[in-house]
Structures are given as structure tokens and as C-alpha cells.
Amino acid sequence: MIISKKVVITGHFGVGKTSLFNRFISNTFNEKYLTTIGVRVDKKMVQVDGQEISLVIWDLAGEVSQEKVPRSYFLGASAIIYVFDLSRPATFSRLEDDLQYIQTVLPNVLIRKVGNKKDLVSDETLQNIHQLTSPHYFTSARTGENVEDLFTNIARALLSPSSGRS
């Protein structure tokens, strides 16, 4: 049996979490679950260096911490993808607080900070945001840029837990 790992996609409302999810996975479950119970779960097999891993991805609706998302949705996750919208600074203004919250729930979890909607901002803006947030990836769910790389990177880090924790 192939190794399965839970990956949670979180971030503020409208940052493109579901678009990233859809871009990576040809989804089976209807999106209405997101508005009813605030989460949608799907799976994708990823092959890295000849090894296969099953990423069970939880797409959380809306906010990161607060009262809106049950804490239990985060539990047992091996990796967190924190998504923010490069075109809306408000979505990364609380980045440090949000990451701190995640780390209190999951102290040793692998975190990837992802600035999404790369196609909507200039290179200069990207540079400024990079200095401010030090993201691991700039992605565009619309064009698909870096989406596959992001998940492959996570899969690789999960297969060799000693690498890429920060």
C-alpha cells in the first residue's frame, strides 16, 4: 500500500485556494461541501524520484484560525499550504499570526507559504512582496504556473522528512 499524507490548504477568503486545488486535482466531490461543512477532501497520487505518495488534500473554506474553522480540520496534517492573494495585501497582513496559530496546533508541520494570482501583479510588486513575506512559491492557479511544482515539492519533503521543513 502507498503512503498517504494529509495536506491542508488554508488562507483567507478569496485567495484562490480552491482554484489551486482544482488546478492540481481533477476533483471528484462537488464544491458545495465547502459552503456546507467548510471543507472538501480529495486525493492525488504524486510520483517523486520513483516513489509514489498519495496526497489527501483538505481544502478549507474561508479563514485560517478564528472560530470559523474547526481546529480538528488541521489535526493530523503532515503539510500546510498557506495561500495568500498577491493582489490583495490584506490577505497577507496577518501572515505571521496565522502561521503562529498553525504552529501551535501542529508544532512540527511542514509549511509552504504560497503567493497566488501571480498573473495579476507586476514583477516589481512580486519583489516587494517577496521581501515582506518570503514565500516558498508564487503561483497562478489561472495559468497553472508553479502549481505542479508546489505539490511535487511537498511530496518530496514528505517522503524524506529530514528535508525542507522550514
Binding site: S4, K6, I37, R40, V41, V56, W58, Y73, G76
Partner: protein, 272 residues
Amino acid sequence: MGNNSTPTKDKILLEQLREALLREDRAALAELRHILNTRKELEERVNPIIKEHLLELEQSFPDAYLDVVQKIVDRRMHQKQNELINILYPRLGMMVRKYVNSEVRLWMERLQANIRRTSRTVFWSKRRRAEEIILENSKSIVEEAYIVSHESGLLLGSASSAETVDKDMIAGMLTAIKAFVEDAFKRTDEELQGIRYGGYEIMIQNFFNYYIALAIAGSISEQERDELAGKILQFAASELNHDLQEPDPVFYAKMNTQLEAYFIKPYKNKPQ
């Protein structure tokens, strides 16, 4: 010549002297050898000493070694906490279930006795027949069985009688729904124990760090539900009595086979 005969004579005399002096020692040595080489003789002499020491150890053990033993037990229990809980959880469940069942049975018996006293025999015989017909016609079947990690929602084992949507996704969504319900109605420490929709039911039995879910098609009687609950506890007690933090592929394969044997096969062969 005289010079040659003297040492020989001395030697003989010395030998005779040694023989005279060591005769008793040699006899004692021979006896000692006999004791050592004869098990019975040796036991007769050594056993009382061993018994005496054992008795002494038995009496002084609690004082002398209590702390050491306590430390070893504590350390072992701490290391194997999850394993212990996984062993105890289903067994406690079985004990509680047994107690509740016997209490309910007693209550039912008293109730039925009271009702019988006040009702006509004909009515009851017809009703019993009607119940039998309903039970005969009710077709319930366990279609799917899952073992899922409480926290991550990751699948630990599964078996099904037919092809379904991806099992990892089902396990994930089921865990999300469970977490949502338990979180939204957190008035008590209760856990979600089942979901009913139309002619289907998902029966959930919670354990310490995993839960078992059975997807049942068709109507299920209380007696059948009770039997299945017992079977789940039995399964957990015998198959899942160790740490489930890092299950390996061998574990997954074994769980799939065992789930099939416990829950799917008996229903496949069940006369309808």
C-alpha cells in the same frame, strides 16, 4: 651403589608418609566428588540453602526492589501508552455493552411480563408473527467497512463488496463531517455514532485514536445493530491492539483482509 639406593628408599618412605597423611583427605575428596556428581545428593544439600534464600528474597523484595520495579513499569507504560489505550478501549466497550445489554434485557422482560398480563394472547401471537414477517423481509447488508484515523482522517484499512468512490476521499470526508458535527454541537463529549440517509446507514464506533465505520444498505433491526456493535468491538480487541501511529504496508494489507472476513463476507453469504 649405596648412594644410588638411598634416594629410592627415601622416595618410597616419602610416598608412604604422604599416603598415610593424605588418606583421610583423599577419602573426603572422593566423597565430595560423589556428592557433586550425584544430582540427588547435591539437591539434598543445596536445595535447603536455595529455598532459604528465595524465602528471604520473597520477604525482602517489596522493600528492596519496589522503587526499581515501579520505575520500570512507569517507563514501559509511558512508552506504550497508545498501545495500552488501544487494548483497553474496546475491552471496556465490551464490558459496558454487556452490562447495558443485561440491564435492558431485564427491563424488557419485566415490561413484557407486565404487558402480557394485561393483554389478550391472540393479539400478541398475531403481533409476533407480523414482527417475524418484517424481519424476514428486511434485507440488510454491510457494503463497506473502514478503519480511519481520528485526527488525520487517513484510511487505516478498508473492505467493500462493490466498487465505490475513492476510499481515501470517503475516509477524509467522513472524518470532516464527523469533526464538523462534533465541533458544531459541542455540548458534551459525545461523538458522532452514525449517519442515516434513505435506505442507507453509516454505523460509526469510536475508539481512542481511530474509528470504525460500516456502510449498511437496507433496514437493520436493533438486534442486528447490537450484534454488529459487538462484532466491531471484538474486531478492535483482537486486531487493533497496538500502536497505530505509524502503520506499515503489512498492517494495511492485514486490516483489509480482516475487515473483509469480519464484515463483508458474512453478509455476502447471508440468506436473503
